[in-house]
C-alpha cells in the first residue's frame, strides 16, 4: 500500500515538474495542478498510512490513540486543498487575460521567435 501511494505521488509530481517547464501557459497550469494533487496526497499520508480508523474521538473516556487516525493531517490537507484551488483558479484567470491581451499562450507573453 505504501509503495503504491509513493509511486502515485512520485508519478504525479514528476509529470507536474515536467509540465511546468513547458512553454505554454495551459501546460504550466496543468503541471501546477498535478503537483498540488501530489502534495495534497503527501500531506494526507504523512507519518503513517491509516486504514479503517476513524479520525475522531468518541465518548468521554480518554481514547486510545492507536485506535484512531491522526486527524491533524486531514485538517491540514483540507486547508491546503482550498488554498491551492483558489490560487490555481486565479492563475487560470490571469492566463485567459494574458491570452486576450498578448494574443499568445506562451508563458513569456510573446512568441520566442518574435
Amino acid at each position: 500500500m505504501e509503495l503504491i501511494i509513493a509511486i502515485a505521488i512520485g508519478v504525479l509530481f514528476g509529470s507536474g515538474v515536467w509540465l511546468i517547464l513547458r512553454p505554454r501557459s495551459f501546460q504550466v497550469l496543468t503541471g501546477l495542478l498535478l503537483m498540488s494533487y501530489a502534495v495534497n496526497l503527501f500531506i494526507f499520508i504523512m507519518g503513517q498510512l491509516w486504514v479503517d480508523m476513524p479520525p475522531l474521538t468518541l465518548g468521554d473516556s480518554a481514547p486510545d490513540p492507536r485506535a484512531f487516525a491522526d486527524p491533524l493531517p486531514q485538517a491540514l490537507v483540507l486547508t491546503a486543498i482550498v488554498i491551492g484551488f483558489a490560487t490555481t483558479a486565479l492563475y487560470l484567470v490571469l492566463m485567459i487575460g494574458s491570452r486576450g491581451v498578448t494574443g499568445t499562450d506562451h508563458v513569456d507573453g510573446k512568441e520566442p521567435d518574435q
Binding site: I20, S25, V28, L32, M35, S36, V39, F42, I43, M46, G47, L72, P73, L76, T79, A80, I83, G84, A86, T87, T88, L90, Y91, L94, M95, G97, S98, V101, T102, V107, D108, G109, K110
Partner: protein, 537 residues
C-alpha cells in the same frame, strides 16, 4: 474570568486589516475618499498598535518581553499560538510605517487605476503582520498564502501588458514555492509530530538517525520556499521583472515582502537549530552564507547592468536581502544585531527609492531620456546643448535631494543610517574570537564593500543622467506624493540620530533570539484562562 484587554492587542494587527479589508469590499469604487479614509484609519490603527506592542514588550509588561496569545484558549503545543516579542513588534512597526507612506502615495492616482486596491492592500498587511506574529508552522503557511494572494492581486492591479507578463511568472514561481512550503511542513510533522515552533525546537534534541535526516530535508525544502521569497540567487530571477512592472506603492510594499522571507528564516533557524538543539545545530548556515554572498554578487552585477530605473531599485533590494541572508548564515549575535539595523535602514531607503523613481521619471522629458540612452549606447561624449541659466525649481531640488538621500543610505556612505549599518556590520565581522578573523567574514566584508561600490557607480550614473545631463522639464509634485518619500527618508535620518537607543533595543531583540530555551519555556508554559472548559488535554 477573562484575559486583560491588553493581551488581545497581539491579535489586533491581524484582525484589524481583515475586518477593514472586508468592509472596503462593500463600498463602490467611485467612493474614493471614503475608501481611502477607512484604509488610512486602519493603517494608523496598526501604527498605534505596533507602538503599543513595542512599549509593552520592551517596557516589562510581559516577563522577558514575550507576549503569548493562545488562540481559542487551547494550551500551547495543541492550539495555534501568536507570539509578540521585541523583533516581531519592531517589524510590525516597520510594516505600519511603510504602509502609511505607500498608502498616502497611492491616494491620487495609483489606488484608482483598478478595482479593490484598498481591500487588497489591507489583506496584504494582514498576511505580513500574521507572518511576523504566528508561532505555528501551518498557520505561517496560511498567513503566507494570504499575503501572496493579496500580492498577486496587487501585481495585476492596473492591468497592462507588462504587469500581466510579470504576473504570470510571479504567480507561477510563488505557487511552486507554496507547494514546497507544504512538503516541508509535511515532512517536519511526519518526523517531529508537531507544528508548534517551540515544541519542535524542544523535540529536535530527541530526534536522531534517519528521522533527523528526514527532518533536515523537510527543513531545507521549507527554507527553500522562504529563500524564493527573499530572492536568494539563483531563486530570485523573478524579482527584478516583477518589481519593475508593478505600480510604485505596491513595489514599496513588496520591498518589505523580501524581508519577510529573511525574517522567517532568522526566527525559525535561531529557534529550532540553535546550539542547544544537539546534532542538528547550525544546520544550513553555510548554505545561507554562500547563497547570500552569491546574491550580493548577482545584485551588484544587476545594478551595474540595469537600464531601467525600476530594475535598478529591484537589484538594490536583492543586494540588501543577500546581505541579510549571509549575515544570518554566519549567525553571531553581534552580527544579527547589526543585520537588523541594516534591515530597517535598507528597507526604508529602497522603498523610498521605489516611490521616488516614478516621480523622477514623470518629470523627465521623454525625448531627452531616449537621447540619454542612445548616448550611452553609442558612447557619445558631448551632451546636446542645453539652455543655460534656468533656475532649479523647488520640485526638482526636492527630487534631487531625496535621490541623494536614498543613494547615501543604499550605498552606505556617511552620514546617513546606511553608513552606521555597514559600519556596525564590519565591526561585528572583524571582531572575531581571540582577535582572529575568520576568512568567511573577510570574504563577506569584501563583497559588501564591492557591492556598495557597484551601487555608487550605478546610482551616480542614474543621478548624473537624470538631474544634470538631461533637462528635466517642469517637475510637478503633488504634496501627497512628495510627503511619503520625505517621511521614509526622515525615518532614515531618525535612525541615524537615534542610533544609540535603536541599537540598544536591537541588542535586546537579538539577545532574545539567541536564548531559545527561555522563549520555548515562556510559550509552552503560558497558562490557559481558567473558568472556561479547557480544550487542551
Amino acid at each position: 474570568m477573562s484575559l486583560p484587554w491588553s493581551q488581545h492587542l497581539i491579535l489586533v494587527p491581524v484582525l484589524l486589516p481583515l475586518l477593514c479589508g472586508a468592509l472596503l469590499i462593500l463600498f463602490n469604487e467611485s467612493r474614493h475618499q471614503l475608501k481611502f479614509a477607512i484604509n488610512l484609519a486602519s493603517v494608523l490603527g496598526l501604527l498605534a498598535t505596533a507602538i503599543m506592542l513595542m512599549t509593552m514588550t520592551d517596557g516589562g509588561y510581559w516577563q522577558d518581553g514575550i507576549g503569548v496569545y493562545l488562540a481559542a484558549n487551547w494550551a500551547a503545543p495543541f492550539g495555534i499560538v501568536l507570539v509578540a516579542d521585541r523583533l516581531a513588534a519592531l517589524l510590525l512597526l516597520l510594516t505600519a510605517v511603510l504602509a502609511s507612506c505607500a498608502l498616502l502615495y497611492s491616494m491620487l492616482r495609483w489606488s484608482r487605476i483598478g478595482v479593490h486596491f484598498h481591500s487588497l492592500f489591507q489583506f496584504l498587511l494582514m498576511g505580513i503582520n500574521g507572518t511576523f506574529l504566528t508561532h505555528d508552522l501551518f498557520n505561517l503557511f496560511v498567513f503566507f498564502e494570504v499575503m501572496l494572494a493579496a500580492s498577486y492581486g496587487l501585481v495585476l492591479h492596473g492591468y497592462n501588458l507588462n504587469r500581466i507578463r510579470a504576473g504570470m511568472q510571479f504567480i507561477a514561481v510563488n505557487l511552486v514555492a507554496s507547494l514546497m512550503f507544504l512538503i516541508g511542513v509535511a515532512l517536519i510533522y511526519a518526523t517531529a509530530g508537531t507544528l508548534n515552533m517551540s515544541d519542535l525546537a524542544m523535540r529536535l534534541a530527541e530526534i536522531d538517525g534517519a528521522d533527523l535526516v528526514l527532518l533536515q530535508v523537510g527543513a531545507a525544502i521549507l527554507g527553500l520556499a522562504f529563500l524564493i521569497k527573499s530572492a536568494m540567487w539563483p531563486l530570485g530571477f523573478w524579482l527584478p521583472v516583477t518589481y519593475a512592472a508593478v505600480s510604485p506603492p505596491v513595489a514599496a510594499m513588496f520591498v518589505l515582502m523580501t524581508k519577510v522571507g529573511a525574517y522567517v528564516i532568522l526566527r525559525l533557524w535561531l529557534l529550532v537549530f540553535s546550539p542547544e538543539s544537539g546534532s542538528a545545530a547550525g544546520f544550513g548556515g553555510s548554505a545561507l552564507l554562500w547563497g547570500g554572498m552569491a546574491t550580493i554578487v548577482f545584485g551588484a552585477a544587476g545594478m551595474l547592468a540595469s537600464d531601467k530605473h525600476g530594475k535598478l531599485a529591484s537589484y538594490a533590494a536583492i543586494i540588501s536581502s543577500g546581505t541579510l541572508l549571509a549575515v544570518i548564515g554566519l549567525g553571531q549575535p553581534a552580527l544579527v544585531t547589526a543585520g537588523l539595523f541594516y534591515l530597517l535602514s535598507s528597507t526604508l531607503a529602497v522603498a523610498a527609492f521605489m516611490l521616488l523613481i516614478e516621480l523622477v521619471e514623470r518629470s523627465r522629458n521623454p525625448v531627452e531620456a531616449m537621447l540619454a540612452l542612445t548616448m550611452e549606447a553609442f558612447d557619445f561624449e558631448e551632451a546636446p546643448e542645453q539652455p543655460v541659466g534656468v533656475g532649479i525649481p523647488a520640485a526638482l531640488a526636492f527630487l534631487g535631494l531625496s535621490f541623494a538621500g536614498c543613494a547615501l543610505v543604499i550605498t552606505g556612505l556617511p552620514p546617513l543610517s546606511g553608513f552606521i549599518a555597514k559600519f556596525t556590520l564590519f565591526h561585528a565581522l572583524l571582531s572575531g574570537e581571540d582577535g582572529v578573523v575568520a576568512p568567511f567574514n573577510l570574504a563577506l566584508m569584501t563583497l559588501i564593500l564591492l557591492s556598495g561600490m557597484a551601487a555608487i557607480i550605478a546610482l551616480m550614473r542614474f543621478g548624473v543622467r537624470t538631474f544634470w545631463a538631461s533637462g528635466a522639464v517642469n517637475a510637478r509634485l503633488k504634496f501627497s506624493e512628495a510627503v511619503p518619500v520625505a517621511l521614509l527618508l526622515g525615518c532614515c535620518v531618525f535612525l541615524t540620530l537615534q542610533a544609540g537607543p535603536v541599537f540598544a533595543y536591537l541588542e535586546r531583540a537579538s539577545a532574545d533570539l539567541h536564548r531559545p530555551a527561555l522563549y520555548i519555556e515562556t510559550v509552552l508554559s503560558e497558562p490557559v484562562v481558567p473558568g472556561i472548559q479547557e480544550g487542551g488535554q
